[in-house]
């Protein structure tokens, strides 16, 4: 109590101005932080705006009905057709294969690391997972084309060199560490008291993991799935290299196909004149990609809320 007045008395005379200077500094910092946060929003808005603007020009030439219902996508041919369905089919098929690989595998890895592995095993495996996440996707692309495809050809006779199965599996492997790592974080965040309650009832480790920890962590685990699906849908290099680049309206994983992203890369690297319909078409399909990703995010939000087991 006695120290305070003496401390006040020792303040410099101009301490009122000093306070004002501090307020200005605080305001500047706040503004800078706001701008940083705003840049994320602004970038998103700008991307959607450009997609809409260029896409709008595209739809001046091609009707929305043709775009959404025709089953041929041949913008680079003499007789151009603009039916986006083959690209969607390719994207869907490859993503579905990837998700079928990544979700079970990623979940098993997460359950093992979170509930079964000893501290030492976990500390050894985790860095490897993170390392795998950092491998450039082009490496996975060649891995698919030069290793997985020949392997699959031995199992499935007559499998063409370009097919959807191989890149699907490889993308699945590629996003597994991601799904595993995010799911594991969610599961580890479940309080130990939940596990103790389960073990005290005579539950095994596996029962505890499946009936208590996983449901309690479900919102984080579903978030991991959604992030994984979004990455599979948006993955470009692996499919551009290993699936062939010919749009093909089929869901047969043995067939070659092009995805939305593979098509964008093909056109963006070609020399189509700026402003041509072909050039504008990549913005139209880009818009489709954004809508698909948005759709999964909305589903993810819904599922998280529906299955939420808050602890």
């Amino acid at each position: 109590m006695t120290a305070e007045p003496s401390h006040c008395a020792s303040l410099p005379e101009g301490h009122v101005t000093h306070t004002r200077a501090r307020n200005v500094k605080e305001r500047l910092i706040e503004t800078a932080l706001f701008l940083a946060a705003f840049s994320a929003v602004a970038t998103t808005v700008a991307i959607v705006a450009i997609l809409l603007y260029e896409g709008w020009s595209f739809f001046q030439h091609v009707s929305l009905v043709e775009f959404l219902t025709h089953t041929q996508w041949t913008p680079l041919f003499e007789k151009a057709e603009y039916g986006v369905l083959p690209l969607i089919a390719g994207t869907f098929t490859i993503s579905a294969i990837a998700v079928l690989v990544a979700i079970p595998l990623g979940l098993m890895v997460a359950i093992y690391l979170s509930e079964f592995a000893s501290h030492r095993v976990r500390e050894t495996v985790k860095p490897f997972l993170e390392l795998l996440e950092g491998v450039p996707t082009i490496v996975y692309g060649y891995f698919a084309l030069l290793f997985v495809t020949p392997l699959l050809q031995k199992i499935i006779p007559g499998l063409p060199g370009f097919n959807m199965l191989s890149p699907g599996i490889v993308i699945g492997i590629m996003i597994t560490p991601y799904v595993a790592s995010v799911s594991e974080d969610a599961m580890r965040a479940v309080p130990m008291a939940m596990r103790e309650a389960s073990y005290a009832m005579g539950a095994t480790r596996f029962q505890t993991a499946m009936k208590v920890v996983l449901p309690a962590a479900i919102s984080g685990v579903v978030a991991a799935f959604i992030l994984g699906i979004s990455r599979a849908v948006g993955e470009t290099m692996v499919v551009a290299i290993a699936a062939g680049q010919q749009p093909n309206f089929t869901f047969d994983p043995r067939e070659h196909a092009a995805t939305i992203t593979a098509y964008i890369v093909q056109v963006a690297m070609g020399d189509l004149p700026h402003g041509s319909i072909g050039y504008q078409s990549i913005f139209a399909v880009g818009l489709v990609l954004v809508v698909i990703t948005l759709f999964f995010n909305v589903i993810g939000q819904y599922v998280r809320r529906r299955w939420r087991e808050a602890y």
């Binding site: 939940m194 103790e196 309650a197 009832m201 539950a203």
Partner: protein
């Protein structure tokens, strides 16, 4: 009423009015190199309430958690000696005994209510589903019986689908007791079950413990000496990992034999 039994427990020389359900015999416990429990010898009488009291850090919770092998969940823990469980006469801390089997027979309620983030029904049914029970009607019957035994049925019977975590603290703790009771354990371990609760909820849990006395053997850790005096039949006073004194609760509280016990009970330390 049965004739009151008179059984003399050899190691402590205390006369019990019920058969021995479990007993510690030369029991030690180590957290890594830390010798947390030293040479404990005491019985737990069947269908009686035994209280473990003592100052913080005396090892009473550590001792309680040995009865259902909770220490097995963490590396570096070690049991030495025996805790024998009757009538089988097995050493429940022996490495050859499956801890899961022990936990199915010895249930536990924790200090802080820890219902699962599931429905009230699923919380109580948990121990049954873990045991592989499939019959829906049987599960429903057992859940109802357990909720009634835990004096919670009337409050939750119309909302069994509501989340267990949506209940009040006292209700959550009674839900945890119901969860433990549904599996019909032989021993119920209560680890300071009222320390996180308000006085009214505490009173309802104490009343419940008294009612459950006829159904199940209860071992309770409490920080609250009045609580031990109110609800227990036998009391063990522990200090620095050792058992100082064990005896019928009224004798411990009225005529403690050891000076340390008396000093603790009269508030001279602890």
């Amino acid at each position: 009423m049965d004739q009151p039994q008179r059984i003399v427990h050899e190691a402590t020389g205390v006369t019990l009015d019920a058969p021995v359900k479990a007993q510690a015999k030369g029991f030690h416990f180590y957290y890594g190199a830390h010798h947390a429990l030293k040479d404990l010898n005491m019985p737990v009488a069947e269908k009686r309430v035994t209280a473990l009291i003592g100052p913080s850090g005396c090892g009473k919770s550590t001792f309680l958690r040995s009865f259902n092998r909770m220490h097995d969940l963490y590396p570096g823990n070690r049991y030495v000696g025996e805790i024998r469980l009757y009538p089988d006469d097995i050493n429940l801390v022996s490495p050859e005994v499956d801890p899961i089997e022990i936990r199915m027979r010895v249930a536990m309620v924790f200090q802080k209510p820890n219902p699962f983030p599931k429905s009230i029904f699923d919380n109580v049914a948990y121990g049954l589903t873990v045991r592989g029970m499939k019959n829906r009607t049987e599960i429903a019957d057992r859940v109802e019986a357990a909720l009634k035994a835990a004096a919670l049925w009337d409050e939750v019977k119309d909302r069994l689908d509501a989340l267990g975590t949506s209940l009040s603290g006292g209700q959550q703790q009674r839900l945890c007791i119901a969860r433990a009771l549904a599996a019909e354990p032989e021993i119920l371990l209560l680890d300071e079950p009222t320390s996180a609760l308000d006085p009214i909820a505490t009173a309802s849990i104490e009343e419940l413990v008294t009612e459950l006395r006829d159904r199940v053997t209860i071992l309770i850790v409490t920080h609250n000496m009045q609580q031990a005096a109110r609800i227990s039949d036998y009391t063990a006073f522990m200090y620095l990992g050792e058992l100082v004194e064990f005896g019928p609760t009224d004798e411990i509280f009225v005529r403690p034999k050891k000076k340390q016990t008396e000093d603790y009970l009269t508030g001279r330390f602890g």
